[in-house]
Symmetry: C2
Subunit: 211 residues, 2 copies
């Protein structure tokens, strides 16, 4: 099972490291971090680089693709090298997936037309520009296309995918090993739960940069 | 606020990338990934390298230390370069923290003697060797020492820490931005919840390597 984690300048690290931590524990997993050019790739905060061990052109037939989101997404949505690669890789995948605004890249590559999908809540409406239907759900399966909402949602998506690929028992083993029994100390993780003033602040003048 | 994320060969990536994603969104955060030597550091699965931008000796007065866990912990518990650095750094921190088996390194450095602490459930008993008291909780605050249980528990710990450092409103903003509204597709994330046969399997002949 060959899994390609796609990153680019100003990606959000947890978008891919969450899913990687789950998917790397699939039986016979071979995970590769992939970028347009091999080498260190800087995350959105500027504080962390992960190494892309492979360039896109070196990775031809992944079974699973996971595309990160992040502020860098919007530049990549006009990058033919990445979009062409996504289309070509998708022709051979069993699962084509994304986290956060990464779904906009799948959509920009023309892979989500007419499909249900999700995205970071602040960017979900952009899916409509590509004829995809944003559902507002945390994880959306539509055929082999699986999209997750913002940042941490990739963990839930990937654990569900482990279950589809390797069965419920293996997924539970991965959950137990990663002690994924979350207990957030606050209950503000979605725009439906967070205080209204925070949601409004993000929609107008965010203290964090998504774009 | 200078935050040092401590990694080493065969660390578990989500242990630190989860907390990094939360803590990097503190006001005036400056996060550095730190290892004995600067450069790429390979995670436990072999599939991912993160770049340590600084060597330990270059980082003298961090405000917050976060120590990763992972299979590499047990080699590091006998590494004087790391343990000496932890003791020296701890003398100036406001918070000294760990995720997963990283608490064994704080303990081996002599920082958790007589304190309550937590750890990955499979390794928690080792805390007793260092006169620390494993509580089995997901996140433990004991003075300025904060320890998290296995792998994903670092996210909960770090979000709680954001609240202590920057206030509840800021912590909720970080939670909303990272859409941390977890919905695990299974309910097997702790030894109290997982099927007994899985817990037993991990205790005898794990399909994953913790040590």
């Amino acid at each position: 099972m060959h899994i390609a984690m796609v990153v680019y300048d100003r990606f959000t690290a947890l978008d891919v490291v969450g899913p990687y931590e789950m998917l790397s524990r699939l039986p016979d997993a071979r995970v590769e971090f992939v970028a347009e050019r091999a080498g260190p790739v800087r995350a959105d905060t500027g504080f962390l680089s992960v190494v892309a061990d492979r360039a896109l052109h070196e990775v031809r037939r992944p079974d699973v693709v996971v595309v990160a989101g992040g502020p860098g997404t919007f530049a990549q949505a006009g990058n033919p090298a990445l979009l062409d690669w996504l289309r070509a890789a998708d022709a051979g995948t069993t699962w084509t997936t994304s986290v956060c605004s990464g779904s906009l890249l799948l959509a920009a590559a023309g892979l989500l037309g007419g499909r249900r999908a999700t995205c970071h809540w602040l960017a979900a409406d952009f899916l409509r520009q590509y004829d995809a239907e944003p559902t507002g759900e945390r994880v959306v399966f539509d055929g082999k296309y699986v999209t997750a909402a913002g940042v941490s949602a990739g963990i839930d998506m990937a654990l569900a995918l482990v279950g589809r690929i390797a069965g419920d028992d293996h997924a539970r083993a991965v959950q137990l090993f990663t002690e994924y029994d979350p207990r957030p100390p606050y209950d503000a993780g979605s725009p439906h739960k967070a205080p209204a003033h925070l949601v409004e602040e993000f929609r107008t003048d965010s203290r964090f940069t998504l774009m």
